[in-house]
């Protein structure tokens, strides 16, 4: 039994290829049905805008690869399979497990450490399960993959630092203010990024929002939408001293906020800092303002630099996540190995139990005068004896399998307990079914 995977992502395939191989949610049922029709034991299809991947369990790795290639080519309507091959990557067994764990942790994502992929892995698992093509191997593998993804998020800081301009602004503000609860914010201009930033600030606890715009109507419209007060550009100076965070994104050619305006406001704020984000090009806020004690000014390049630093920080944290992955692969491998010996264990138990039943029947025949209670005691004794004797061999079988010595362990046990090859064959088949 082998696990294999094949797929393509934003690194290996251009969007023209990715889009024909992406499975829209409407077509998912049919795609899963076709996947189930392949000569596989289990299958899962993971399709997002950045990747399409198939995970399968089957008997021979080569056959699995062949089947998956055909499946993908057919799905994309690509007749020339050779044209598709350079865009595909494939892994089997340990490699496939590692790849899935890395995907679940967001290590294989465009933005390292993003968490969306974890939800997508969970959905893929759920959908394929509903389609009835998930068995015990993938139940274990995917549930573990989801757990690994969660561990990476909670035990490392891989998904912690902002990677978008609007979040980076909020994060910076949080390095100055202990909390944004109840703070006041002013937006100059009503652009998209400003709107997003204001929304993020709101969800971090910022309460009062003032929106200033050249045309008052647009300001009022946005104020209605997100719940704030609209003012005209002329009133900005008057409100400046009462706000903690300013986001500026007007299309004005010159500076909208001057040094003297902010200096005046800072004086009135008596040491409470004011935070100014200038995401407009050309800039709205006089950079000289940064010289003021109590004023922090950041422009779009500064925010971009924060994002770059954050990405580097995430890459650093990714190394910790890799360590978690190695640990979890080991766990999965020992589970998988113990799976190999389960038929043997079952056979061993069946055989010994048959012996037990036969001997019990014989003994009870020779003791006809026993009461119901006495018979029950004797029977319970035989069961507990069998369990106690078989406990150690069972544990050691699993242990040896975990160490990679499953064939030797199986051979030894069959020899010691005289398990015949025919019985073995049947048990192995039963175990797979």
């Amino acid at each position: 039994m082998h696990i294999a995977m094949m797929g393509l992502n934003f690194k290996t395939a251009p969007v023209e290829i990715r889009e024909v191989l992406a499975v829209p949610s409407g077509a998912l049922g049919a795609a899963l049905e076709r996947l189930g029709a392949l000569d596989i034991m289990e299958g899962i299809l993971l399709s997002t805008c950045n990747r399409t991947e198939i995970y399968v369990v089957g008997r021979s790795v080569d056959e699995l690869y062949r089947a998956m290639t055909c499946y993908l080519a057919e799905m994309g309507g690509i007749t020339d399979t050779a044209a598709l091959l350079p865009h595909l990557y494939r892994h089997h067994d340990g490699g496939a497990v590692e790849h899935l764990f890395r995907v679940a942790c967001g290590l294989d994502s465009m933005v390292i450490g993003e968490t969306q992929i974890l939800g997508q892995v969970r959905d893929a698992y759920r959908e394929s399960n509903t389609a009835g093509i998930v068995g015990k191997v993938f139940h274990q593998l995917f549930e573990q993959a989801i757990a690994v993804g969660k561990r990476a998020q909670t035990e490392t800081r891989i998904g912690q630092n902002a990677v978008s301009v609007s979040y980076a602004a909020v994060e910076l503000a949080k390095k100055v203010f202990r909390s944004l609860d109840g703070r006041r914010c002013m937006a100059l201009g009503a652009g998209e990024t400003a709107k997003l930033t204001v929304k993020h600030l709101q969800s971090s606890g910022v309460r009062d929002i003032i929106i200033a715009n050249r045309t008052l109507e647009r300001a009022e419209k946005l104020a209605d939408l997100i719940g704030g007060t609209a003012i005209s550009m002329e009133e900005v100076g008057r409100h400046l001293q009462s706000v903690d965070v300013v986001i500026s994104s007007t299309g004005a050619p010159g500076y909208v906020l001057t040094l003297s305006q902010v200096a005046e406001a800072v004086k009135h704020r008596r040491g409470r800092p004011i935070f100014l984000f200038d995401i407009a090009v050309p800039r709205d806020i006089d950079p000289e303002i940064a010289r003021l004690e109590g004023a922090f000014v950041y422009d779009i390049d500064d925010l971009q630099a924060v994002i770059n630093a954050n990405l580097q920080e995430r890459a650093e944290e990714a190394k910790r996540a890799e360590r978690i992955i190695i640990e979890e692969i080991e766990k999965f491998n020992s589970w998988l190995a113990s799976l190999e010996v389960i038929p043997t264990i079952r056979m061993l138990r069946d055989k010994v139990d048959l012996l037990r039943q036969a001997e019990l029947a014989r003994a009870l025949n020779r003791l006809p005068d026993l009461t119901e209670r006495e018979r029950a005691v004797v029977e319970a004794m035989t069961i507990s004896l069998v369990n106690k004797i078989l406990n150690a061999p069972t544990q050691h079988l699993k242990g040896m399998a975990g160490e990679g010595a499953a064939p030797e362990a199986i051979a030894t046990i069959s020899r010691l307990f005289d398990l015949t090859p025919a019985e073995m064959e049947a048990a192995v088949k039963q175990g797979r079914g």
């Binding site: 910076l172 390095k175 100055v176 040491g271 940064a290 922090f296 630093a309 650093e316």
Partner: protein
Amino acid sequence: MESFLTLVIAASAALYTCAAVAHAYYVVRSHFDFLARWSTRVAWLVSSLGLGLLVAHAGRPPFYTVFEFMYFLSWLVVTNYIGIEMLRNNQAAGAFVVPAVALIQVIGVALPKPTAGHEAYLSPVLVSWHIGVSMLGYLFLLAASVAGALYLWQNRNLRQKRWGPMYYRLPSLEALDLWGGRFVYLGYPLLTIGIVTGLFFAEIEWAHFWQTDPKVIFTLLVWLVYGGYLLMRKVWGWGGRRSAWWSVIGVAGLLINYFVMNVLSRTHRFGL
């Protein structure tokens, strides 16, 4: 016994030095955080043992000689630091605390070790209170200066746009400012009680509470500096950078008071 004590003290000094190097590396490169964390913890354990031996050896609270006082104070500082590090899962303050402690420990190795017993005072209990409470005051004022130094560091990160490891590890400016203030609020009354018990002691021991002594005068100066700090915060609502500098400079006064004034003082000659 004595040679074993020396060995333990040397070991804790060596471990703190290792922890200090690891912390320095951690600040610059974000590496070795594990080594920094655990070498500090192990060093603390060894210095706890050293402190226990010290008390057992001398048979009195460990703050009658310069070495004892330094060893005990650095133990208290690290105990609190490790508490914060474990509670907050944040070892940023270690960059300041651990190298300072390592320095104190290394100096401590060279200092003469105490012998049993000490001068007989008329009121030994008052002496213990005077030293013990002053020491706690020192502890909080030191903590305030660490918060102040971290404030200045984070302020520099934010102003000069340096997004290094410390930018990520350090909390917000407001939080650092708040804690700096809180530590002084705690340390100042303790320092005051320390001074008052000292005056009482002088009254009993030398028949007059006022001893014209460099250390007494300098201590009052330091006391006024911190009083000014509190006044500035409470009454004028100052804070931020000025306040952080104030507390860093204040602690420099505290250190001068301890290391220089003790040598000049007649009344504060610790058994060296």
